[in-house]
Structures are given as C-alpha cells and as structure tokens.
C-alpha cells in the first residue's frame, strides 16, 4: 500500500474496497496498532487514530480504542463459554468485575446472542461465532470498530444476521466503523465514505459512496472490485447443455463420522457428463460431505457411489485423480509444496504439464510472476485460485468445488468462470457446493438443495433462480433439532 489518504469522522462508516492483494487487511491491522508494532514492515506517512499517532503510540493505547473482527470465525474464539469470551477483552483492560457482569449481557444482546451466554463457543455455528467476535470487540466500548471481511466465511443467512447488527451499530453512531467487505450491496448501503485502493496498492478514490461510484465506477470494475448491483448486471446464461452419458450414480447413500450422527442420509443421485450442478443448503447441511463421497474421498457408511462404473473410494490415488477432482474450501489445506510452481505441477502426468501455464494465466496467477512465491504468502483470493488451478490442470471427468468463489474479486471470478465454462463444454461434470447466488446463476444448470443430509429439492434451472431462499427456516429448525424440513419430499 502506498500514498493512501483518507479520514473518517466519529460515528461514520468507512468502507475500504479494492481487489485481492491490494493491502486492505494491512490497513485494518495498522488502525488497530498491530502494524507496525506486532507485524513489522516499511512505514512512512502519518496515521492518526482517535488523535494518536498510530506508529508512535504503544499498541496498548491503540488496542484500548479499537475493536477488531477478523475473517475466520474459528480462530478468534479464546474462551470455552460465550460470556467468558466476551469478558476476555474486558479482563485485559482491567474492568472491575461488577461492571463486566452488566456489560457482557449488553454486548451479547447487541449482537443477538442474548440467550446463549452459557453456551460452549465450540457449539456455535460459524455465523454465531462471528457475531460473538463482534460482541467481544464491542464490549469495551471502543471508539473505532475495524471489520476485516467479517462475513467472507459465512453462509447468506449468517451474513444477513451479521449485517443486521452492523446496521444497528451504524444507526446508533456509537462507534466509527472501518469495514472491508466483498458483499457490495450490503456494504455500500452502510457506508458514509468509501476508500478505494488499486491492485498496486495506490489509492483510486476517496469520498461519498455515490460520488465514488460516479467518478470511479468503471475504473473499479476494471480493477476487479465488486460494485453494488453487480448481481443484477448480466442476464441468465444461455443453457445450451451438451449432456453426455451417465457419469456418477449414488444409491441409498448414507454417511456419518459418528455412526449415531448421520451427515448424509439416503441420497439418490444421477449425474451425467457435461452437467453443471450447484449443491445448495445452509452450513452443516452436508454439502461438502456429499461432494467428498462423490469424489471418492470418503467411504459411504451405507449405500454406494459409482463414478464412471467404479467405486471411487476403492480406486488407487492415481486412478482417482484421473477421474475426479476436488477443491477444498480451505486452500491452505490443499498445499503440499513451498513454491507455487512446484504446487501446480505436483503429481501431473507429462501430457497434463503443458496446460498448466495457460490455466494459471487464466486464473490471474501467471507462472512468470508467481512460480517462485510461497503458496502460503499469497492473498486469500490468490490462494483459492491456486488451489483451483492445481485441480483444473488435470481435466478430471468429475469436478467438485467447495465454495469456489469465496473471497474472489471480480477478475478472479471471471477467470474462473471462463475456465469452468470451457471444461463443461468439453464434457466435464461440475458439482459446486456454494452459497453464491451469482455463481449459481452464471454457471449452474441444476440445483440440488440439501437440508440436514437429505436432498430436499432437485431442480433444473432454466431461468434465473430466486436469490433468496427458504433456508433460514431450515437453519432455525436444525438448531432447535425439531420440526420437519421445510420442503421435504
């Protein structure tokens, strides 16, 4: 990041936008005093936080003024119980115990977790954990709240609940909000000011949202930044499907990590070559598990899967990799090398090696620039594209993707779309577990909805699918552990 200038008045909401890797997270860490105090780097210019010079003030002083929420819900929880976790930040600031006992319930109410004070933090859903992180950041009444892609790992219902709470904080003007967020429609509506940074880390624009859109909308679109209304820009895709022979069939398929807790229940499924399937449903409904079963990564506890006539779970690794590809939700868990160049060529057959440069360039990771970098040092969006590239170089007949568009800027998204369309036209069967309504509309020809391990809807998408879903009701029912699934056959 360089030459960036901005300001936010008390109680305002500042939205920071920019393509993947533009330095947005660094800015968030700088405001919270973690850069340059905890994470060193080259620093020039001046950043004033609540009247204090950020680089010259001890981190302790800044931490007292700033609340920070990160992207990954799982790695922000410190304590075992919800109320203890909220109190953690108050303890660190040496609040008197009696004040903590009144403030903790207030903070939990403010994020809609009022009834869950004694719940174990590990038993919360990702969306609830993220609102818990918000409560923990809010509890010490910070003047500034910094949110670094807080909804990137949440399903649409978790994200909507998070934004509801954020709107209430913004309305009360009780804290200045610095928000980094890819969900453009929600985020731009919340913002008083927008700071736009380009891929090179240089500023593009700063001002009121409407002014920034007018002045720099085209430039931002070129840079790959999502803008409000992008979901409605393109019409439904032509569905010229060239469907081939039967590729996958699953019969009476059931699976559970614990035999008493089935994750997948009696699923019957036929997939043909050239098909584009979206697996939908709330977090925890079994989408990833079903994908892993189809790709031969898990062995069914009951029933069977056939992939191209064989049981994929019994194939050798070499045979399996030829027929099936699977891209995991967390890219870092897929990396097996310390260089991007080694990673993408890992395990490839000679005839597959030739396609690697083209795939990498198509996904915005040209090998000439990226080959020597460490996969772990890439930005979140780049990591996900690398994990996709490692599977896309092989041309398996079945391609299973778990949330392929999480954290992607527009450029990464469009690169991915082009490659996937090309593969499907060549007869690849694509199965994507996704919450992304835009991706479903742009890619999918069939939508299979899961709820608590059962298929509750299986439909051909001819026109635009509805952007909202009945699933909040599913999620509620799942949490109560009672009531039939809405729309169950």
């Amino acid at each position: 990041m360089r030459d960036v200038a901005f300001e936010a008045a008390p109680g305002e909401c500042l939205l920071v936008v920019g393509p993947s890797g533009s330095g947005k997270s660094t800015l968030a860490l700088a405001i919270a005093g973690l850069v340059p105090h905890e994470i060193p780097g080259e620093w020039s210019g001046r950043l004033e936080v609540d009247g204090l010079d950020a680089a010259g003030t001890p981190r302790v002083e800044l931490a007292a003024r700033v609340g920070l929420v990160f992207q990954d819900p799982g790695s922000q929880v410190v304590m075992d119980r919800v109320e203890d976790d909220v109190a953690f930040g108050l303890e660190n600031r040496a609040w008197p115990p009696e004040l903590m006992w009144t403030r903790v319930p207030e903070a939990l109410d403010a994020v809609g977790l009022g009834g869950l004070a004694r719940r174990r933090t590990g038993h919360l859903s990702g969306g609830e954990q993220q609102r818990l992180a918000l409560a923990g950041a809010l509890a010490p009444r910070p003047g500034i709240l910094v949110l670094d892609e807080p909804t990137a790992n949440l399903d649409p219902w978790g994200a909507a609940a998070f934004f509801d709470r954020l709107r209430a904080i913004r309305e009360s003007r009780s804290a200045t909000i610095v928000l980094i967020e890819h969900r453009a429609d929600d985020a731009w509506a919340l913002a008083d000011r927008v700071l736009a940074i380009g891929a090179d880390g240089a500023p593009i624009d700063f001002g009121r949202p409407s002014d920034v859109l007018t002045r720099s909308g085209d430039r931002l679109r070129d840079e790959g930044v999502w803008l409000p209304g992008d979901l409605l820009l393109t019409g439904p895709q032509p569905r010229s499907e060239v469907l081939g022979p039967l590729l996958v069939d699953a019969r009476k398929l059931s699976f559970g990590y614990d035999p008493d807790v089935p994750v997948i229940r009696h699923v019957e499924l036929d997939l043909v070559a050239g098909e584009r399937v979206a697996l939908a449903g709330p977090n925890g409904s079994g989408k990833s598990t079903l994908g892993r079963l189809l790709a031969g990564l898990l062995r069914p506890t009951q029933g069977r899967v056939r992939l191209d006539g064989a049981d994929p779970a019994r194939l050798s690794a070499v045979e399996l990799a030829r027929r099936a590809g699977y891209v995991f939700q967390d890219p870092e868990l897929q990396f097996l090398s310390t260089r991007v160049g080694d990673e993408v060529f890992l395990g490839l057959r000679p005839e597959e090696r030739a396609t690697a440069p083209e795939v990498m360039t198509g996904l915005g990771l040209p090998l000439e620039h990226f080959a020597d970098r460490s996969p772990y040092a890439l930005s979140g969006g780049e990591q996900r594209r690398l994990s996709l590239a490692c599977i896309l170089v092989r041309r398996p007949a079945l391609l299973v993707l778990d949330e392929p568009t999480f954290g992607q800027d527009r450029r990464g998204y469009e690169g991915l779309l082009a490659i996937l369309r090309d593969r499907v036209a060549g007869g690849t069967c694509l199965v994507a577990a996704t919450h992304d309504a835009r991706f479903i509309r742009d890619v999918a020809g069939r939508r299979i909805a899961l709820d608590r391990g059962r298929v509750v809807a299986d439909e051909t998408l001819v026109l635009e699918p509805p952007l909202t879903d009945a699933a909040p009701a599913h999620e509620m029912a799942a949490r109560r552990g009672s009531g039939p699934a809405a729309g169950a056959p």
Binding site: L68, D72, V78, A94, A133, L320, A324
Partner: protein
Amino acid sequence: MEPADRQLASPLGQTSPLVKLGVAIGWFVGLAFTTDVRPPIVLACLALLAAIWFGSVDLETLARGLTPLWIAALAIGAFNALFAAVNLDPAATELARIGPFRLTQAAVVGGLGLAARVVAFATVGIVFAQTTDPTRLVDALVQQARVSPRFAYGALAAYQAVPRFAQDLATLRQSRRIRGLPGTWHPRILIGLLIQAIRHADRLALAMDARGFGMGPRTTFRQVRWTAVDGLLLVGGIVALVVALGLGGAR
C-alpha cells in the same frame, strides 16, 4: 466427552479444580507405595461414589467413559500376569498351566494389583474430567496457583483447537489422494499439519492481542475463591488415602 452443565454446578464441580487436582495427584503418589489390590479399588469406588453423590454424574456417562479404560486395565493386568518373570521360578506356587505358559499365584497377584491401580487412575481421571470446567481450571491456575495468564489462556485456546486439527489432518490426507499421490501417512502431511497449527496459533495470537491481551494488569470475570467445601474435599481426600493404604497394610 464434555461435562454437562448439571455436573459443573454440583458441589464437586464447584470446588476449586486445584484441590481436585491435588487430591488426585496425592492419591496417585500414595498408590505408588503399595502393590495391594485393595487400596486402589477402594479409592476408585470412593471416586465413583463422590461423582454420583456430589458430582451429579449419571451412571451411563460414567460407564461410557470408563468401560474402554477398565477393559484396557484388565488387559494390561492379564498381560503382565501371563508374562511375569516369576512364572519361570520353579519355587513359585503354580495355579494353572496353559500349553507352554505357566501361571503362578505371585504373577496373578501382581497382575491384579497393576490392573487395580490402572483402574484407579482411569476412574479418578474421568471423574475429574467430568466435574471440571476447562475455563474454571484455567481461572484457578491463574488466580490460585499464580500461573502466568499468557501460558494458561494460551493453553486453553490451543485446547479448543484440537477438534480442528483432527479435521485438518483428514483434509490434508484427502488432498494428497485427489492429487494422485499415494500414501496416506506421507511426512509431508505432518508438515502441512504443523504449518496449519502455526498459522492457527498466529491468527489466534493476533486476535488475542487485538483484544488487549498482555496490555497490563488484568481483572477476572469469574473469581475462583477458596471455600469450606474445598477444605472438606482436601481433608476427605487425605483421610480416604490413609484409610485405603491402611487396608492394604493390614493384609
């Protein structure tokens, strides 16, 4: 198996975890001085009764936790009885002969004594785990035993990440398989797991710092105070150990 709220609210759940830990360690040390079967069995029974009466732990929960450990204890005892060196001593009283194996009385007594002690360790451990809130244990370590907060809360946060590592391991192995690489226990998987552990710890440390951890003096949300029940438990634990060891000595 996590302890239920009812168990944590019980008298045994509300005592200081340090006293429970102290009694358990005292018992383990005391049992090292006897090979008799009776003291460990008496102490295991007392721990069970305490769990049921004062700990609100139901029998089903205890049985589910203890069955595998007890079976393991019996297996260890049987193995030791069968392969004890004393079986080769022609002077030892022979109880049975199975094929080439000779089983002597001394070996059986030794095996039973070992099994009984493993049973006692397992039972006390399960009762401790089933009546102790991890947060309360850490609070007690910091407030009563003056353990460094950075170490204690760091350990608590790391403990919460354990289920996550199990999932990460499964994903790393699947990730190799789908890339056509054979071998489910390749060293590279452990490297991947280590990288994940370090990165998770990094993120967590950053999140803790962002919430002001290590800023200076802390206060505590949940005070752990010494109570009369702690004293009763301590005295009861010592009396039980003395009585149990006395039973052993009176053989």
